[in-house]
Every structure is written in C-alpha cells, then in structure tokens.
C-alpha cells in the first residue's frame, strides 16, 4: 500500500541546510496500522507529510496506493490526495462551518452532487458517533468531538490510507482511548490502512501492528509492536517501551524491597502473547517448596497479543529456588534475576 524508498528531505534555512529525514526505507501493508514514534524534531512530521505530497522528498521516492506521490503534480496529485486522507493534532476544522458542512467539505472538493453529499455526511456522522451535533460549530465541541469530525471528514471520500499526525496528542487520556478505539474500529470495518505518528508509546501499544522508531531523521528500529516491546534494541526504543511497561516507581520500589529481603531472589518475568495467559505462579507453588511474593505486575494489550511484566520474590531453600528458576526458563517466559539477596 505504501512504499518509501531511500527518502531524504533537506530544508534550506538561514542557518544553512537541515536534514530532516534521511535514508528512510519503509513498506506498509494493506490494512495495516503502522506507527512511527519519535521525540519532537525526529523528522516524523516531515515523513508523514511526504506521504500525501505536502512535502516533497529531496531524494528517493514515495508510492502510496499505486501512485508515486513524490513525482506527480497538479491535478494528479490532488486526485491522489483524495485517497490519502489526513487528521491533525489540532483538528484543523473550518470554524465558519458546522459539523455537517465541515464533513461535507472534501466531498465538495471531489465534486460530489449535493444530494449524495447529504447522504454520505449522515452516514459518516453515524460512523463516528456525532448524532445530534450535526449543526454545531467547532467552537461548541469538545476536543474529542472535534477529532471525530476530523476523522469523519477524512473518511468522506472513501480513502485507502489515513494519515494521523499526532491525532491524539491534544486530547486527555480518556478521550485519547476513545479516539484510538474508533480508529481500530474503522481499520477493521473498512480495511483502511493507517499510518500514525506520535510521541506516546501508549498509542503505539494500543492500536499499531508494526512500529518504526525515529531518531535524528532516521528509522533506528522497526518491527511488530510485540517484538519491539519484547526485545527493544536501541536505547531510545527501550526508553519508549519503559513509558508503558514500567510505571515510574518500579525502580524505586524494587530497590526498596531488595533492602527488606535478606534471603531468596527477586526476578523479573516477561510474558509475551500466550505465555501471558498461563498460570505460571500456581505451577511454581505446586511443584516447588518455595514461597512467592508478588511485588509488582502489569499486563498490556497490544494488537499482536498481550505483553506483561511481573516482579516476584522467591524465597526458600537455595536449591529449590534454583530448580524453580530452571523451570521458569523452560516456559515461554522471559526471565531476569534482578538480585540474589
């Protein structure tokens, strides 16, 4: 659906040339939700803008839905853009138009006759759950409702690809989740390919199938979300993964607990996919003569399966503990011994 080949983007500024994106190769499959994560200034905004030709690459090529957007111009590019919709961090609605008129705007651009427009707008209002607010102006809507209008507007011309430019970054956590659920729903129902950029790992975890991590204009790591969570390679990726898997206090808590326990071991278990749903702790207690103290745990759902971490303290005879650890090793569970008390 999307193919980015050795793309580079250089901006000329007064201070000289700035390379925003360099050496990016990327393929997004049909129907996939693909996330790009990075801190501000990493080049992710520039990258997503090259997908609908709002920015043109200095080198390389970008192909979306069979059209080489990096090399077409004028009416061909405008036609291509009707198949590549975009939603924005600040919604970018026309305040002079009502909800209905805003959603109708892309249909007017596409030259859809009025009767059909009205019908399509009603469908879209249903789809994004804005019934009853059709005649409100953007100024009268909440952030979440505005983004729903943005989504409805983006879907109006039945696009093949939806680009999300920090679409939830201006929303509170609860509204963010609602909007993300709507995006997943749309992805499943309409088979729409979604590319989103964000700086929140929460967003990636919640809805993406695959993720690319960007730093200083380059993609430094890419893979399925579960893979990246399970085995982050780059330091920046590890930091992003920690945003979701480890609450802030984890480290402090563990350090504090280590001081309290004078025997046994503290281990960190990592559960991936099916492993996360097996009764490991029960098995340990039944088969080994040890006591287990659960210190802290967290399970996160991703689009490719569940991912969890659990900190436990094992206590008992030294060889019994060792046997238990060996047993854990044979299971589909990641194991890291934090300390030997």
């Amino acid at each position: 659906m999307i193919s980015i080949k050795s793309v580079k983007k250089v901006f000329s500024t007064k201070q000289g040339k700035v390379t925003a994106v360099t050496d990016v190769n990327l393929d997004v499959k049909d129907g996939e939700i693909f996330g790009v994560i990075g801190y501000s200034g990493a080049g992710k905004s520039t990258l997503i803008r090259m997908l609908n030709g709002l920015e043109l690459p200095s080198e390389g090529s970008v192909t979306v839905a069979g059209k080489q957007v990096s090399h077409i111009k004028g009416s061909k590019l405008r036609e291509a853009r009707q198949e590549i919709s975009m939603i924005f961090q600040h919604f970018n609605l026309l305040w002079s138009r009502t909800v209905r008129e805003n959603i109708s705007f892309p249909l007017e651009i596409a030259g859809v006759p009025k009767q059909k427009r009205m019908k399509r707008v009603d469908e879209l209002i249903q789809l994004v759950g804005l019934q009853g607010r059709e005649d409100a102006y953007p100024a009268q809507l909440s952030g979440g409702q505005k983004q729903r209008v943005g989504i409805a507007r983006a879907l109006a011309n039945n696009p093949k690809v939806l680009l999300c430019d920090e679409a939830t970054s201006a929303l509170d956590p609860q509204t963010t989740d609602q909007i993300l659920e709507l995006l997943v729903d749309i992805n499943k129902r309409l088979g729409l390919t979604i590319v989103l950029i964000t700086h929140e790992m929460h967003v990636i975890r919640k809805i993406c199938h695959r993720v690319a991590v960007m730093e200083a204009g380059k993609i430094v790591e890419m893979g399925t979300v579960l893979e990246v969570f399970k085995n982050p390679q780059q330091p920046i990726t590890k930091r992003f993964v920690q945003q979701v898997t480890e609450p802030e206090e984890t480290k402090e808590t563990i350090e504090h607990l280590l001081k309290e326990y004078h025997s046994g071991r503290v281990v960190q278990l990592t559960f991936i996919g099916d492993g996360a749903e097996k009764p490991l702790i029960t098995n340990l207690i039944r088969h080994f003569d040890i006591t287990i103290n659960i210190l802290q745990g967290k399970v996160s759902q991703t689009q490719n399966g569940a991912y969890g971490t659990l900190f436990i303290h094992l206590d008992g005879e030294e060889n019994e503990i060792q046997k238990a650890i060996d047993y854990i090793d044979t299971q589909q569970v990641g194991l890291e011994v934090i300390s030997n008390a």
Binding site: L54, L77, R81, H90, L93, S96, F105, I109, Y137, L163
Partner: protein, 222 residues
Amino acid sequence: MLNQWFPNVDWEKMWEATNETLYMTGISTLATFILGIILGLLLFLTAKGNLWQNYTINKVISAIVNIFRSIPFIILIVLLIPFTKLIFGTMIGENAALPALIIGSAPFYARMVEIGLREIDKGVIEAARSMGAKTSTIIWKVLIPESLPALVSGITVTAISLVSFTAMAGVIGAGGLGNLAYLEGFQRSRFDVTLMATIMVLVIVFIIQFIGDIITNKIDKR
C-alpha cells in the same frame, strides 16, 4: 421646531446632499471591498511560505499599496484630476470623486484583508490541501469564509473613513454633505447648515457601524 433651530437649512438640498454622500460612500465602499480583497489576497498568497510564493510580485504590490496609502487624501484628489477628467470628462459632481475615493481606500483595506488572512490557522489551509483542494477552492471556501468577520469589520472601518473622505472631496466640488457644509454653511456663514450637515454625517457613520457590528457578530462562530 426644526426650522426654528435651523432657519437657513434648505431641507430639499440637505436630502439631496445626503443622498449624494450615500451614493459616493456606497459605490466606493463596494469597489474598495472587491479591489481590497483582490489586493489583500495577492499580498497574502505571494508572501513567503504561501501558495503563490513570489518575492518580486509581493514586493511590487506591497510598494504600490504603501505609496497610495501614504498620500494624503486631499493631495490624491488633486493628483488624480487628469485621470478623473479622462474617465468622466469632468471633475465636478459625485462621480468625479469616485476614482480618488477608491484608489485612496483600497490599499488601506488591502492591508486589513492581508492581516485578516494571516490570522487564519495555517493548519486549516494545510488540511484543505491534504484533501486535494485547488487554490481557487482554498480562496473561495477557506480563506474568504474563515476571515469574513475580519473582512467585514475592516470594511466597516473603511466605509466610515470613506464618509469623511467624501466630505473632503465635496469641498473641491464633488457634491454631498461636505460640499453643502462648505459652500452653504462655511462660505455663507450659516453655522446651522454646517451643524445639520455634520449631524447627517454622524447619523450615517453610526448606521454603518451598527450594521457592521451586527453582521460581524452574526458571522463570527469562533
């Protein structure tokens, strides 16, 4: 009672002069509105980072606007006498004031239009582009509707200054309340005529402001 307070006022003449003032203000406001929006759009669109980015055109229009905005109106009328004579064959009467009124106020209004357009969130223009909108669509469906309250409040201010411009034009023979106040009032030392003409001008200004405010409030949905 009116005749007691304003003994020298010829009401028929007063009405005629008021109508002339309204005519000059109306036509020149309409022309200024259209011309100013065109110039303002050009200034905005050719500026750096915009759809028709063009340094030379932008600087040329900007220079023309600045020059005509800086010439004092009374001098502009005199400067434009040959031009006015060429078009209307005379420099007397209400039509003769129109070229100077329009050329004097359109650049002023163009700057207001430009400011109004710059207030539009860049993201909204980007969103329209991302939907595949043509530049003409962006002008008609994004730029003008989104800046309309600013355009209307701007034309209100301009129309009011046009009323005082017509009075100035009247002094050199263009008709209207200014002409009446000067010829019948000042030159013949009939203070009451000047006062009545002033009151009529004030009423016109208040009405323009009132209408402008109502429209601006009605269309502003922010």
